[in-house]
């Protein structure tokens, strides 16, 4: 892979990869680690499953590369494809969405809550695990939105493009997700 290609932006690579597949290889190389993390967090998929999912995602990206609209970020578009692929995977596997946030246990509270009160309330490992369990009890649509906002660190605009919902809906859902999370935690006696 020529080093000059790695300096190109995603959008430039998309334009170029229509002529030369080598540019597509740069995009794949760039997004494999990010999407692997995303799939790992969003599921309990095995390494083989992840490999299959990544393959399906990039095949779809390549097949539909002419659909990409330059008015949105390439990362939002590829995450949208990954998100839809994950939904299909869950449907095929007949499983309920389960976030795998064990690697995030250390700083899950500071990611989800900004106030010190919560940080002190869920300070030990057991309480942090309780937060992870509570996140997994949330409605499907709230899990997705919290994952994208607080773990993938996407902006409201990007989340709107990934989930194909109006930006206002993103703000409302994040707010409701936090309220539901608080409710679940209170119900389980962590207050």
């Amino acid at each position: 892979m020529p080093p000059s290609l790695t300096t190109l932006t995603d959008e430039q690579l998309v334009i170029e990869c229509k002529k030369d597949q080598q540019h597509f290889a740069v995009l794949v190389e760039r997004y494999v680690p990010k999407l692997t993390h995303y799939i790992r967090r969003r599921s309990l998929a095995t390494s083989d499953d992840i490999e299959d999912l990544l393959q399906n995602i990039f095949i779809k990206v390549y097949r539909n590369i002419n659909e990409y609209d330059t008015s949105l970020l390439f990362s939002s578009w590829i995450y949208r494809i990954a998100h839809n692929e994950m939904i299909d995977w869950y449907r095929r596997e007949k499983r309920r969405t389960t976030l795998s946030l064990d690697d995030e246990a250390q700083d899950i509270v500071s990611k989800l809550f900004t106030d010190d009160d919560h940080v002190t309330r869920f300070s030990n490992a057991e309480q942090k695990q309780m937060v992870i369990d509570a996140v997994n009890k949330l409605d499907e649509k709230y899990k997705d939105i919290l994952l994208l906002r607080f773990f993938e660190e996407k902006s409201y605009e990007e989340i709107a493009d990934i989930l194909t919902v109006p930006p206002g809906t993103v703000a409302v859902r994040i707010n409701r997700a936090k309220k539901q999370l608080e409710k679940i935690l209170t119900k389980h006696g962590t207050n």
Binding site: A25, Q55, Y62, R63, N64, N66, S71, A160, P167
Partner: protein, 183 residues
């Protein structure tokens, strides 16, 4: 040369093995255009409804006449109102909003925004439609009243007594003997 990972290699070889090629840009242009069709139809249907409502407002006496001419049949009352248009407009709106959400940027707008744009466009186009076809509408109405039913005739004459006087048969002066003028 930078090294590429095994995963990337596998993905690229899968693309080659399965002979995956990018779909034509026109495929997406056509698909996007098809998604817009129900939206355009909805707006035009709405415009037709608005034109009908404006017509009803501007020609209230004719609409009343049509109702009266049926002897007050309640079903005709309902048929006279653009209820069917409104219902089909609602149905089309629902379908078109679902499809518009699938267009490139359609999802960025709320249902209320999409509905407002559709209704506002329908009102503007409907008024324009009425204004442009006003003359031909009047002609249609005139044709309708050229051969009125007995009920219509009676009703029309009741609400337009002046016109009745004008239309009253004038004596045929030529066939009548000329009366001598008394001097």
């Amino acid at each position: 040369m930078e090294q590429i990972s095994d995963t990337t290699k596998n993905i690229l070889s899968a693309i080659q093995d399965k002979h995956v090629t990018p779909r034509s840009r026109w495929y997406f242009v056509l698909r996007n255009s098809i998604l817009w069709v129900p939206g355009v139809v909805t707006t035009l249907l709405g415009a037709y409804t608005v034109a009908g409502v404006v017509y009803g407002i501007m020609h209230v006496e004719i609409v009343q006449g049509r109702v009266q001419s049926t002897g007050g049949n309640p079903l005709f009352y309902i048929a006279t109102m653009p209820l069917l248009w409104v219902a089909s407009f609602g149905l089309f709106s629902l379908v078109s909003i679902i499809l518009l959400r699938k267009t490139h940027n359609g999802y960025r707008h709320t249902t209320l925004q999409l509905l407002s744009i559709s209704v506002a466009s329908s009102i503007v186009i409907g008024i324009l439609f009425y204004a442009v076809t006003q003359d031909s509408d009047d002609n249609t109405v005139n044709t309708y009243y050229r051969y009125p039913t007995q009920h219509q005739k009676e009703y029309y004459e009741r609400i337009f007594p002046a016109e009745r006087m004008i239309r009253q048969e004038q004596p045929d002066r030529q066939s009548q003997p000329v009366a001598p003028i008394a001097l």
